[in-house]
């Protein structure tokens, strides 16, 4: 698996320049607009998409078919992408943490909380998408991907229009406390599903 992760990291390295530029741009924008939340959201999406980009590179090169002729298990191919997701969300966590602590737009505690929450959201996002992409591939799964992004966003918009009050701070804190476990359970379920899909996949 180490080899697979290295491959993905090197393959994605090409994106690093553009990425760095984008990030610098958004940092600047966020400070200028004094909107840390926006930066947080954008960072989460940018990093969460990376494992999917890696998947799409693999698909384009038809790497999986080839990789399975090597001493690599189907499980490794699946879990490798989750690990990649973990690495990138971890990075996103650190970046937002640093950003938040340095710009001090929020209290340090809140910054920590938001960083963790963003990481959680990113991981859940991947947990929902990855089994879909493993089953149908990135090309075909693209539509579903947009749906997964659009549905919660639309739900939030609709909810605020309908005047549904946002959850109280106390409830948010409870959720925040439970969330690591929820995220882990969702991830575990997702991995289980992805591996099942992959075991039976034909190339």
């Amino acid at each position: 698996m180490k080899g697979l992760i290295i491959k993905d990291l090197i393959n994605l390295k090409k994106q690093a320049k553009v990425f760095g530029f984008l990030m610098a741009f958004y940092v600047f924008l966020a400070i200028a607009m004094e909107n840390a939340a926006m930066f947080g959201g954008i960072i989460t999406i940018l990093f969460a998409i990376l494992p999917i980009t890696a998947l799409s590179y693999d698909e384009r090169a038809r790497w999986d078919k080839y990789a399975l002729t090597m001493p690599i298990s189907r499980q490794d191919l699946v879990i490798g992408k989750y690990l990649l997701g973990g690495i990138f969300m971890g990075l996103a966590f650190l970046i937002y943490l640093m950003f938040g602590l340095i710009t001090r737009m929020e209290t340090p505690f809140n910054v920590l909380l938001i960083s963790a929450a963003l990481m959680g959201v990113g991981l859940v996002f991947l947990a929902i998408l990855l089994p879909i992409l493993f089953k149908w591939g990135v090309e075909k799964g693209r539509f579903l991907m947009i749906a997964v992004l659009a549905v919660p966003t639309a739900a939030i918009v609709v909810a605020s229009k309908l005047g549904i009050t946002p959850p109280s701070e106390r409830m948010l804190h409870t959720v925040a406390f439970l969330s690591p476990f929820i995220v882990l359970i969702i991830l575990a379920g997702s991995i289980f599903l992805s591996v099942r899909v992959y075991m039976n996949k034909e190339f």
């Binding site: 090197i10 090169a61 038809r62 790497w63 080839y66 002729t69 090597m70 001493p71 298990s73």
Partner: protein, 282 residues
Amino acid sequence: MEYVLKAENLIKQYPEFTLKEVSLSLPAGCIMGLIGENGAGKSTTIKLILGLVSPDSGHVEILGDENIKDKRDTREHIGVVLDESCFPENLNIKDINGIMTHIYQTWNGETFYGFCQHFTLSPNKTIKEYSHGMKMKLAIAVALSHDSRLLILDEATSGLDPIVREELLDVFLEFIQDERRSILISSHITSDLEKICDYITFIHKGEVLLSEEKDHLLEDYGLLKCSQEEFAQLDPQGIIGYRKHHFGVEALVEKKHYGAEYIIEKPTIENVMLYHTKEKVI
């Protein structure tokens, strides 16, 4: 005899194509050519052998291992080259070496770089910038840089020019100097196979039409040329397929049925393949 690969009665059904009871056995130290027209089932057979696809029935044994799809240790000793390059596009040779070191336990970087040099593969370009020929040579370099005992090539040389193909034939022959190793090479360029194969398996429309020693094939069969009248008088038993033209008839026959009074030439593998797919004499 020690077999590196044994496939028995593989059956695989697709909506528009069925592979019917394909069997083949590859002894150690030998090269087997897999021939057949496009869509005959060569790639499907190879995918079944590699565990990329599961058979509806039948089984495969590689290097004594029957469950290659799930057990990955055997794959340490299999080198595979497919008909297209499957390397991630942004990598270069150095990156690939770095990755393969972690994938193969018996990976030998020195050997790999040696092949890359031998094939004059540019170390500064990424895969994206490689030509088709370079990508294939790279895949072959990878396949030969770990302890491969079975080399499987699926139409790997089809897009390459004759000079490169000749170079590669030498590489394959060198590979096989170690008699524990074998090669399974599928190709529709039968002239290449003619030069190096010990065995030929011919797949046509999902079935194995023949699987035997190349020498036997080329010695037992012959290309008989005669007039249309003479053809009408031939014993139909030994005729595999024939072609009538304006000035006579050419037929692939089993030599033993016909005497020295006929002009019978040594066939090529291509003749054998083409005439097997033509109509038989009723």
